[in-house]
């Protein structure tokens, strides 16, 4: 896939380290994400992929190193602050609001976009009502886009796994993020569901121009989808480049196939 023309860096991770007790999840990892690209972070189990995502969106704070997002470097950012800054994400094991319908889940993604005061909202009057209608319209667009019209009123706990993943993507899209983080978007899916999800990811990138960083286990999926790939192994970055470059890299082949030490 052709890389986007822009080479402007949206997010820059510099020498980030993170340890849990004696376990070093990340060891001085640097990587950047350019505006408009689909960036993959891959690696075997326990490579530090999810830790990297959690550091980027503020669930974890790095022990060392810095993260620069949209030109601003920050030390400790809390998750809701990063959401406010324009970072949305999905989770490896689907974290939806289980008691709510698909529609309400996606509406929850609009939380930050709502401006009207509490009192107006309580009265359902004037500008607050117009605002609610406007948000509903945007949410319906996303529902159409993800082809989940039929299940919008269903409590998400009742949906099959593949559809839950799709609703979760919808909730992240509703935030209209500058950077979308996807944690194993295809995990546990069958081939057909994987193809659907790949199509949505490419469409999001094309239509809305959203920058996407995704973590995947499955090399084949990632190679078709992404512009650039970074490979982590045991908390270290062992390769970074276009899918073709990474595929040929000896260190990557060793990490995935195992090598006699």
């Amino acid at each position: 896939m052709r890389a986007p023309d822009s080479s402007e860096v949206l997010l820059d991770v510099e020498r980030v380290s993170l340890a849990f007790g004696g376990v070093k999840a990340l060891r001085g990892v640097s990587l950047n994400i350019r505006k408009g690209e689909i960036r993959a972070i891959i690696g075997p189990n326990g490579a530090g992929k999810t830790s990297m995502l959690n550091v980027i969106n503020g669930f974890y704070h790095p022990d060392q190193g810095a993260i620069t997002f949209k030109g601003r470097t920050r030390a400790r950012m809390r998750p809701f602050e990063s959401a406010r800054g324009g970072i949305a994400r999905t989770f490896q094991n689907v974290a939806l609001f289980k008691g709510m319908s698909a529609l309400d889940n996606i509406m929850a993604g609009r939380t930050l976009k709502m401006r009207r005061g509490l009192l107006w909202q309580m009265l359902r009057y004037g500008p607050a009502q117009a605002e609610e209608v406007e948000h509903r319209r945007r949410v319906e667009e996303i529902i159409d886009f993800l082809e989940i019209e039929a299940i919008r009123k269903v409590p998400v706990a009742r949906l099959p796994y593949g559809l839950q993943k799709r609703v979760e993507l919808g909730r992240a899209l509703a935030m209209e993020p500058d950077l979308l983080l996807l944690d194993e978007p295809m995990a546990g899916m069958n081939l057909e569901e994987k193809e659907d999800m790949s199509r949505f990811i490419i469409d999001v990138n094309n239509h809305y121009g959203t920058t996407i960083a995704l973590i995947e286990h499955d090399m084949a999926v990632v190679m078709d989808l992404s512009h650039r790939v970074a490979v982590l192994d045991h908390g270290l970055k062992i390769a970074d480049g276009t899918p073709d470059e990474v595929k040929k890299d000896q260190a990557v082949i060793d990490a995935y196939l195992g090598v006699a030490h």
Binding site: R84, F97, K98, L118, M122
Partner: protein
């Protein structure tokens, strides 16, 4: 006709004390709905709110403030104390336990109960303090229909009006506002809520604050009826069967449950008491709750529990 008149009188009295159970149950439901925590400290919060209010009132009146000014300032002071409590609980008890399971959070509220009870009595004293905000005398209504009329306590009417207003306000708050939606989101999944930009600590503060204000309202009504005293905390135990009957997650359920318990226990006491011995009032609610658990474990108004296997 005498029997019917007496029945109505008992029924009305029962419903009105049911409103009071509802007020306490409401505090539990609010916190459970919004954070998935069963807040054992709700009874202690009612005591704290009541003591803060009544002691402030006494002090203000003793210093020559007019009655209405003392009430406004006293309620303001009570609200401020509940806000402080909410902040402290979020900061030091619940806040550090984000993403822990429900049982851990429940245990932490048991700890908070003892601290709140101790602090409340240490700061505000441990006597019985009478609270007089409403008229407590009786009305006799429908004298034309029933000989002697039906006795209705004015306080009970006030209690009903206040509870009704409170419930309507809360229902609107939860259903129609952004914060309401955020509260429900936090209850379902802490991590996901944070990822869509909900500041979880602020939301928890709001929940505990609202529960604190509900406790203050409950304290006003209960305190006027019985005086503000330590035994108010035991009323929290009466709220348990109310919650089981109404459903832990339902605001209307808390109200209906309270009314059922209140009316049921009074009617049982008066009409069954003579034949099977008195004291029914004390256990009736629990037996009723057991019966509901057998038939409808999620309560009359609770959400059906759906579990994927």
């Amino acid at each position: 006709m005498i029997a019917l008149g007496q029945f109505l009188e008992v029924l009305i009295g029962g419903l009105m004390s049911g409103v009071l159970y509802s007020l306490v149950a409401l505090g539990f439901v609010l916190i459970f709905k919004a954070s998935g925590v069963f807040n054992f400290a709700q009874g202690a919060m009612v005591l704290l709110a009541g003591l803060a209010l009544v002691r402030a009132l006494d002090l203000l009146m003793a210093n020559g403030f007019p009655f209405w000014a003392a009430i406004v300032l006293g309620i303001g002071f009570g609200a401020a104390i509940m806000a402080t409590t909410a902040w402290l609980i979020e900061r030091f008890v619940i806040g550090p336990l984000v993403n822990q399971d429900a049982l851990t959070l429940f245990m932490s509220t048991i700890g908070a109960t003892f601290i709140i009870e101790g602090a409340a009595e240490m700061i505000f004293g441990s006597d019985v303090y009478p609270l007089r905000l409403f008229p407590t005398d009786a009305w006799f209504v429908l004298e034309g229909l029933f000989p002697g009329g039906i006795l209705v306590n004015k306080l009970d009417v006030w209690g009903g009006v206040i509870a009704g207003t409170l419930v309507a306000g809360l229902a609107i708050f939860f259903q129609w506002t952004k914060i309401g939606r955020a509260l429900r989101a936090v209850a379902d999944d802490h991590l996901a809520a944070q990822s869509v930009g909900i500041p979880i600590s602020r939301i928890w503060f709001v929940v505990w604050l609202v529960a604190g204000l509900v406790a203050l309202v409950a304290a006003i009504v209960w305190g006027t009826k019985l005086g503000v005293q330590f035994s108010i905390t035991f009323l929290a135990l009466k709220a348990l069967p109310v919650l089981i009957i109404g459903g832990l997650t339902s605001i209307p359920g808390a109200i209906a449950g309270g009314l059922i318990v209140g009316a049921g226990e009074k009617i049982a006491e008066v009409f069954l008491g003579p034949s099977i011995g008195g004291g029914i009032e004390y256990w009736f609610a629990y037996v009723l709750a057991l019966a509901v658990l057998l038939v409808r474990p999620q309560g009359l108004f609770g959400e059906r529990i759906i579990e994927r296997i």
